[in-house]
């Protein structure tokens, strides 16, 4: 299954090659043109009916993780985060290092030896290290180099009522939907763009948008979900199972109202469950895309993911399918009704 392959492959921000190669292999026979640009974005074009407006659908390829910063004399590996990671989720986990995927563990001090209540303080990133079983610095350097990327070790697992656990659901879920679009949409002209380095500051999207110069963009994302009980509804950004989340506003974009209304209309018309993303926190590639050159319109449609940015992200396959349906319906709808109102 594609989502399994994508979430289990490596693609930390700045090191997206493995994921990029998988995506290119998947879509190359379905595109009119495809290229990797000068900073690693994939820019694919699928030609359909001629169109006065240029449509772009994007998903970022990169995921959060760690990077090797130093190797100490005993062969233990110090690291820094790549992207936003809660340091508390790292303790007692397994990881894979570098292109050879050397396995390692992030350990912790035995509770027996801790001072009273020591466990009430979170461990700092600087107190943590990865152990690959090396005996010395020299030994470790045979397998690991400073600058190597470290990914969470987490297998794609389906569980419960149509749920999936995996790492990197943010944003391989967007990649999977976009790949599916490129393969299955007929007769609509659009650009499919897979961007690099979203998680470390929306780096890839600006240059990609500058090159494509779109009029309308749909950004596909895995977005945060925190639907725990007893929380006021306005504090819950999205619900698992609530359908694709349509963004209102985030730190980087106030989404165009007309385009947003159109997305809602299309969802209603096609009986696709949907919800609004009810938080202004976070941001995504849209921020760079809609302000590129002389400006353009964007909408972000996301699959809600619990425990985002952790090895155990969770999403609903139903949400995934409904998101995919909504984006397809939207592309056909643009084509049917034209774009003049935008």
């Amino acid at each position: 299954m594609l989502l399994k392959t994508l979430t289990e492959s490596f693609g930390l921000s700045g090191n997206e090659k493995e994921v990029r190669d998988i995506i290119i292999a998947e879509i190359k026979d379905y595109c009119t043109t495809i290229k990797t640009d000068r900073i690693g974005n994939i820019i694919a074009f699928k030609e359909g009916k001629p169109n006065s407006k240029r449509i772009m659908v994007t998903a970022h390829m990169d995921e959060v993780g760690l990077m090797v910063k130093d190797i100490d004399s005993s062969g233990l590996i110090k690291f820094i985060p790549v992207g936003g990671i809660d340091k508390r989720i790292l303790v007692s986990k397994t990881v894979l290092i570098g292109n050879d995927k050397i396995p390692g563990v992030i350990g912790a001090k035995p509770i027996h030896l801790q001072k009273r209540n020591e466990w009430s303080n979170a461990l700092n990133m600087s107190d943590l290290y990865i152990d690959i079983g090396a005996k010395s610095k020299e030994d470790a350097e045979k397998y690991v180099n400073i600058g190597d990327y470290v990914a969470f070790d987490s297998k794609y697992t389906e569980f419960g009522d149509n749920l999936v656990k995996a790492k990197a659901l943010d944003n391989r879920v967007g990649c999977a939907i976009l790949i599916d679009l490129i393969k299955n949409i007929e007769d609509i002209s659009f650009y499919g763009v897979f961007t690099v380095m979203e998680e470390v500051g929306l780096v890839g999207a600006g240059p990609a948008a500058y090159e494509v110069d779109p009029d309308i963009s749909i950004i596909l994302e895995g977005t945060l979900c925190y639907d725990i009980p007893k929380l006021d509804s306005h504090m819950i950004p999205t619900y698992i199972g609530g359908g694709p989340a349509i963004s209102l506003v985030d730190r980087t974009t106030v989404y165009n109202h007309k385009l947003r209304d159109r997305v809602v209309q299309v969802a209603k018309k096609n009986n696709i469950p949907h919800q609004f993303r009810k938080t202004a926190m976070g941001g995504n590639d849209s921020g760079r895309i809609h302000t590129s050159r002389d400006g353009s319109l964007t909408t972000t449609i996301s699959v809600p993911c619990r425990n985002i940015h952790s090895p155990v992200s969770v999403m609903s396959l139903e949400d995934y399918n409904n998101t995919s349906k909504l984006v397809k319906a939207l592309l056909y709808d643009f084509d049917e009704e034209g774009y003049n109102e935008f």
Binding site: H234, H290, D294
Partner: protein
């Protein structure tokens, strides 16, 4: 120069929060269309008015968007939760009246809290007097944005009202645009969108206008009220010529030109070194190969509150300085 209270009174009251500037765009279009050669609207909604001349291509930017509050949730009893669009202060907004685009009026209040000064917006809500979710939803949809209800007050010295930021800048641009009959330079008046959420409109407008010189008009803070944080800007002390803020260090040629004009023409001025904030010129000066850009600021007390206050003399002096600037034969 007489002070055109009527226009300022009207322009601060037109609805136009960031991302939903259609109404204010129409208002300004009506106001200026007979005085310019060409008007266009770009993808983000910037209003770009061209007044042809033979000199340098100059972009004049004043943002027409306002800060506001977006509905994100409506509870079973019809209370509306919101997030900020731009710099909404919980303290300034507490107890204020707000109005949605369709005219629905509401009041902002807060869950009971111990310390109101530390309250965050997620503890606050808008009460539109609906008795159920259904009633509320008939008037307000999730994603709708409201603004502070306007009340324009003036006396012989000052005006105070919500949204001088930056409708007073738009006002000055309009007054200048109407006054200048034979432009020395090729003038593009941009009434920009989405300044309050990050100079987004000015960025895209600058890309299409591709100016050789940029000037923007916006409010700045004050340092002349009791125990105010030190800032050498006060009301009724003249137009403020910006040296720096967090978005720009003004190009020396533009800064010196403004100072020289103010001195030569006897226009009172003050120099502004702002340690925070930014405005459209921050985006304009980074456009393409770079654009020498400056800012004329209107000294304003209580920015982002419902009683933003500015001096009529200062406003007139800003207009005069802008007109002189635009009539300059630039040597750069």
């Amino acid at each position: 120069m007489s002070f055109n209270s009527e226009l300022l009174n009207k322009i601060v009251k037109v609805y136009g929060p960031s991302s939903n500037e259609a109404k204010i765009r129409e208002f300004i279009t009506e106001e200026i269309k007979d005085f310019v050669d060409d008007i266009r609207i770009d993808a983000l909604g910037n209003l770009i008015a061209h007044k042809k001349g033979n000199g340098k291509r100059v972009m004049i930017s004043a943002h027409m968007d306002q800060i506001g509050m977006m509905a994100i949730d409506i509870d079973d009893n019809g209370f509306i939760r919101f997030t900020n669009i731009g710099g909404i202060s919980p303290v300034y907004s507490y107890g204020q009246k707000v109005v949605f685009e369709n005219g629905t009026i509401g009041a902002i209040f807060c869950e009971p809290v111990d310390d109101l000064t530390k309250v965050k917006l997620d503890k606050m809500y808008i009460d539109i007097g609906a008795f159920s979710k259904e009633e509320a939803e008939a008037k307000v949809k999730i994603g709708d944005i409201c603004i502070y209800q306007s009340e324009f007050v003036e006396n012989e010295n000052v005006v105070f009202t919500p949204y001088l930021d930056d409708r007073v800048g738009c006002f000055i641009a309009i007054e200048a645009l109407k006054t200048i009959k034979e432009p020395v330079n090729d003038l593009y008046f941009v009434f920009s969108v989405q300044e309050e959420v990050g100079l987004r409109g000015a960025k895209t407008a600058a890309f299409s206008v591709d100016p050789e010189i940029g000037i923007s008009l916006d409010v700045t803070a004050h340092g002349d009220t009791p125990k105010a944080k030190r800032f050498a800007i006060g009301l009724n002390k003249g137009a403020a010529i910006k040296v720096k803020d967090n978005s720009i260090i003004v190009h020396p040629y533009i800064r010196e030109t403004l100072v020289k004009l103010a001195k030569d023409k006897g226009i009172p001025y003050q120099m502004e070194v702002l340690e925070f904030g930014g405005t459209d010129s921050g985006a304009i000066h980074l456009n393409k190969e770079g654009v020498p850009s400056g800012v004329i600021s209107i000294p304003t007390r209580y920015v982002h509150s419902t009683v933003e206050m500015a001096s009529k003399n200062d406003i007139n002096n800003c207009t005069k300085l802008l007109i002189e600037f635009l009539n300059t034969e630039f040597e750069i």
